[in-house]
Amino acid sequence: MTKNFKITTFFIVVAILISMVVNLNIGYLQMNFSDFFSSSSDNSQIAELRVNRVLVMLLAGISIPTSGFLLQEYFQNPLAGPSVLGITSVASLSVAFYIFFSQDFILPEFLQNSFLSISAIAGSLVLMVVLLAFSGKFQDKSFLIIFGFLVSALAGAVVSILQFYAENQSLKNYILWSFGANNQVSRNQIWVLSIIVMIGLFLTFKTIKPLIGNSLGTAYAQSLGVNLTQLKFFVIIASSLLAASVTAFLGPILFIGIVVPHFCRMLFNPAKLWQQWILNMILGILIMEVFSIVSETTQFPLNVITSLFGIPVILMMMVNNKKSQV
């Protein structure tokens, strides 16, 4: 099993490196090696854009699957994910608020960029606090998922109202953002994003062992010395940070948070959560880089591609699930 894991990891990492190089070379302009290293080159600005694109896909590929993986393991439900708990939609709602109401303010350039992410994270933080408050009262895990569904519906309704009354330009900005804007992230935004992702990953690192202890249910978890309150806090905070920050910069990336953990369970023993987490991160990076390449070559928005790929997989999962229950 361990050998199997090492071999799988090796192949995925090699594939990631190849896909990154390909991703750097996709675009209108033909670039050569020196463009990426010398700042004096004519194409250095485009080169920076492409490097940013590759980096942002890397961060998204780590964060979204990790977020989905944490939620699925915690709720022991393979269909849980950041979009299911309402994290993505509340982040979208905050971004909508920001885009539709910010047109009257004229902010300095650096603030404009960070406000987008701050509003998304602030929105998810509010949702997090609400989720934590409710989850203390309701022990039932499925309650949280229903709650997330209702929150998503509510956020969607409010976004529709905003869209209805919005100015043309704001509406266009919002719709462009919701397509998944993988080409418009600046280097400064990447710094902000990586810091948030690092915090999320650190919390995830602290969460994996308690999650393993929790796999036999709360009574056994307690008997193994797992701190259940801390586990719940860490899972919700880590998954919200990871999902909300990426949503803010890249738009709602749908289904990847559900689909990647599912594939990882087919690749290696699903009971081994550390190995699963590592697989989730590297497979996530690979898929995001590949999707970015497809999105660049076909000119389809990133979100359309993740949906075209994700929905059939989820349908397949649900059909198989039904079969195994009969």
Partner: protein, 307 residues
């Protein structure tokens, strides 16, 4: 003493069992009985410090349970709950390996020596052929054994089992009970288990805790059974309401056998009779006669004559 309860009162807010005063040591196998809802599981959870005691204290190796971290308690006590969860994707091997959970700071990968120990446990439980089966593919008996295997892998001196024999057939019950006794006697573990099957289980336990009327009584199994005549009294299983039993002087098993036989076969009042067991035969007497019978068939033939 490994485990000591000093004037302990147990319950969720409302006391269920008051003033428990008892102790157990390594090598003991103790059966916990009581009717539904008297607080058996609550007592078990209190010993695991999952519910705090309302009064008094529980000492584990002379240390107050409240001062110990959950991890320290896990090093001393492994547990098998009555409900066996079936996480998807868990094989028997994964489950038993989980016993090693507390011995690793991250639980990334088991050491070679631990893998070997897990294999030995699987073999000792006769589960080798099911090693890579998913938990939901196992029979109830094997699933129960797997959960006991997980507790064994935890390597703690004490194991608590809540209803380990429910849902098992007679043969599997005996296998599990023998296994528990072997753990106590040959591996010097302290086994505390609850069971509704006290008739069978008592044969394997040398101590007994009985919860009745908000009190816990503890002692050697035989002493407890003698004191609690109502437990043994075959009248519990009265199928013949007109029957008035004779006086029976015999060890528990013979007494129960004779009672069962008499009440099934005789409607009458047998109160004038006296039955005495003499190692291999019954001496039957009433004011008018005395006879010896070697089998129940002889008793059946004898008694109608005198009526």
């Amino acid at each position: 003493m490994f485990l000591k309860l000093i004037n302990t009162t147990i319950g969720y807010k409302i006391p269920l069992i008051k003033g428990v005063e008892t102790s157990l040591q390594l090598g003991d196998i103790c059966l916990l009985i009581g009717n539904n809802g008297v607080g058996k599981t609550t007592l078990i959870k209190s010993i695991l410090n999952q519910i705090s005691v309302l009064k008094g204290e529980i000492l584990l190796e002379e240390k107050n349970l409240k001062t110990l971290s959950n991890k320290k308690i896990a090093e001393q006590i492994a547990v098998v709950f009555s409900k066996a969860p079936l996480p998807d994707n868990y094989t028997l091997l994964d489950l038993i390996s989980l016993g090693k959970y507390i011995h690793y700071p991250y639980y990334f990968e088991l050491k070679g020596s631990d893998k070997k120990e897990i294999d030995d446990i699987i073999e000792s439980l006769n589960l080798t052929q099911y090693r890579n089966f998913y938990l939901h593919q196992l029979s109830d008996g094997n699933l129960q054994k797997a959960y006991i295997g997980r507790a064994l892998a935890q390597n703690s001196p004490m194991i608590i089992l809540d209803e380990p024999t429910t849902h098992l057939d007679e043969k599997n019950k005996i296998t599990i009970l023998k296994l528990l006794r072997d753990l106590a006697k040959n591996h010097n573990k302290l086994i505390l288990f609850s069971s509704h099957d006290w008739r069978l289980s008592k044969e394997f336990a040398d101590k007994m805790w009985i919860i009745d009327n908000e009190k816990l009584e503890s002692g050697i199994t035989e002493d407890i059974l003698l004191k609690h005549n109502d437990l043994l009294n075959p009248q519990l299983f009265n199928i013949n309401f007109n029957f008035i039993p004779p006086k029976i002087t015999a060890p528990t098993l013979e007494k129960e056998m004779l009672y069962s036989f008499l009440q099934k076969n005789f409607k009458n009042n047998l109160s004038t009779y006296h039955f005495e067991w003499k190692d291999s035969f019954w001496v039957i007497s009433d004011p008018t006669f005395q006879e010896i019978c070697h089998t129940f068939k002889e008793i059946a033939l004898l008694l109608p004559k005198h009526h």
